[in-house]
Symmetry: C2
Subunit: 227 residues, 2 copies
C-alpha cells in the first residue's frame, strides 16, 4: 500500500500502513512500546487540524512541520520536528494543528489510548508527559517572543543559530525546508527571508555552499543578535 499521494489533495486523518518493521517507542524514561512505522513523502499531510487525535508520533528520520492556518490561507509553522522528536500529543479529542512532511520522512505512530491507559497507572509516565508538555510550552513561549518582538534580521539569525544546533557539524546548517517554510515559521514573507539571507551573505556572516547548505562564518555575530 503506497501513501505517496500529495497533500492536501489527499490527507488521511491517520495514515495506516502495513508495518513491515516494528520499532520501540519511548517517551523520556521508561515507557517502551511499539507502533506501525509510517513513511511520508515531501509535503504529504500526516494529520489535519480538527482530525480525531487517536495517535501520536515520533520522528525516526526526516523533518516534520506542525502548523496552523487562518481562513485566508495565512500559515504559521509552530515547530519543525527532527529525529527523536514527539509530535501530535493532544489534551483534547482533536488535533489542534496540521502536520506535514517537510521532506521524505519516517515516523512511528503510537496509539493514544494505550499511552493514556499506561499513564493513568504509571506516575513516572504521567510526569514524563508533564515534562514533555512543559518543554513544548517553553519552546512555544520563546517562539512567541520571537514573533512578537523581534525584527526580520533577528528572526532569521535566530533561525540559523537554532538550526545550527541540529547539525552534526556545528556552524553548518543543512536546511531541509523551503524558504516558504522558514518564512511561515518566522512570521515573515519568503522575500524578506531571502533578502535577509542575501544581506547576511554580503556582510560575510554566512556563506552558501548551496541554496540549502549554509556555513555560519560569524556565528558569534549571529548569536549576538539574540537578546
Amino acid at each position: 500500500m503506497s501513501l505517496a499521494f500529495a497533500f492536501p489533495t489527499d490527507r488521511p486523518a491517520i495514515a495506516v500502513q502495513t508495518a513491515a518493521a516494528r520499532t520501540p517507542w519511548t517517551m523520556e524514561t521508561g515507557l517502551s512500546t511499539v507502533g506501525p512505522v509510517l513513511h511520508f513523502v515531501q509535503d504529504q499531510g500526516i494529520y489535519g487540524e480538527g482530525d480525531a487525535a487517536d495517535a501520536l508520533f515520533k520522528v525516526v528520520s526526516g523533518v516534520v512541520r506542525t502548523c496552523k492556518f487562518l481562513r485566508d490561507g495565512r500559515r504559521l509553522i509552530d515547530a519543525f520536528h527532527v529525529a527523536g522528536d514527539v509530535f501530535g500529543v493532544e489534551a483534547g479529542a482533536d488535533y489542534s494543528f496540521s502536520s506535514e512532511a517537510v521532506c521524505d520522512c519516517t515516523v512511528v505512530s503510537y496509539r493514544r489510548r494505550s499511552l493514556e491507559a499506561s499513564a493513568s497507572k504509571d506516575t513516572g509516565l504521567s510526569l514524563d508527559l508533564f515534562s514533555y508538555a512543559m518543554r513544548s510550552l517553553a519552546r512555544a513561549q520563546v517562539h512567541a517572543l520571537l514573533l512578537g518582538r523581534r525584527s526580520a534580521v533577528e528572526k532569521v539569525a535566530a533561525f540559523l543559530v537554532e538550526w545550527a544546533t541540529h547539525s552534526t557539524d556545528t556552524d553548518t546548517v543543512m536546511l531541509e525546508m523551503a524558504r516558504q517554510d522558514i518564512a511561515d515559521y518566522l512570521g515573515l514573507t519568503i522575500e524578506t527571508v531571502s533578502r535577509t539571507l542575501s544581506q547576511f551573505e554580503r556582510d560575510r556572516l554566512i556563506a552558501f555552499s548551496s541554496l540549502r547548505h549554509i556555513r555560519l562564518t560569524e556565528p558569534a555575530v549571529l548569536r549576538a543578535l539574540n537578546s
Copy 2:
C-alpha cells in the same frame, strides 16, 4: 509587614508575608492544600525571570501578567492571569518569566516541593499537571499565531473578544491593564493600540464608557476579524 513597594526597584524573588487568611488551593480535580496568601500592589513584581522557582501561585483576585524581556527592554506579555488561574509552574529550576501585578491583587502561593512530592505519588495529580501544561501550551500556540500572522486590527479585535469572555456582562470589557500592557501582549506599540481602538470607536464597533471600560456594540464584526 507591608509589601507595597514598587517594581522594579524592589522585587522579592518570592514575596513572603504573614498569612492572616488561609485558602484552599486546588489544581483541577483532587489536590487541596494551603499556602500563604499574598497581596501585591499595582506593577509590583511577584517573581523575576531566572529566580529560583520554589513556589507556584493561584490568583484569588486581580490580574497578574507574566512576561519576558529582551536585553534592550522590549517586552512581551505571555499571558494575563485572572482569578482562578495558576501561574508560575515550571519544569526547570528557575522561572522562565517575570511575573507582575497588573492591578492590586491577591494570590495564594504553594510550595513547589510539596506539589512535586504529591505528584510523584498521585497519578491523578500528575495527569492534572499534564492537563494544565497542555492548556497553557494551546494558549501559547494561539498567541503565537496571533503574533506571527495577524494585523494590528485583527490583534486588537481578538484581544477585545478574548477579554469580553472574562467579563460577567458579555459584550462588555473592563480592562484592568494599561494600554502599554495590551501593546506588549499583542506585539504592537501603545500608539497603534490606541489608534486601532479609536478607529473601532469611529466605526461604531465599540463604545467607550471610560478609558478602561468598553462596550462591544458589534461583537459579531469583531469576532469575524478572527479567522
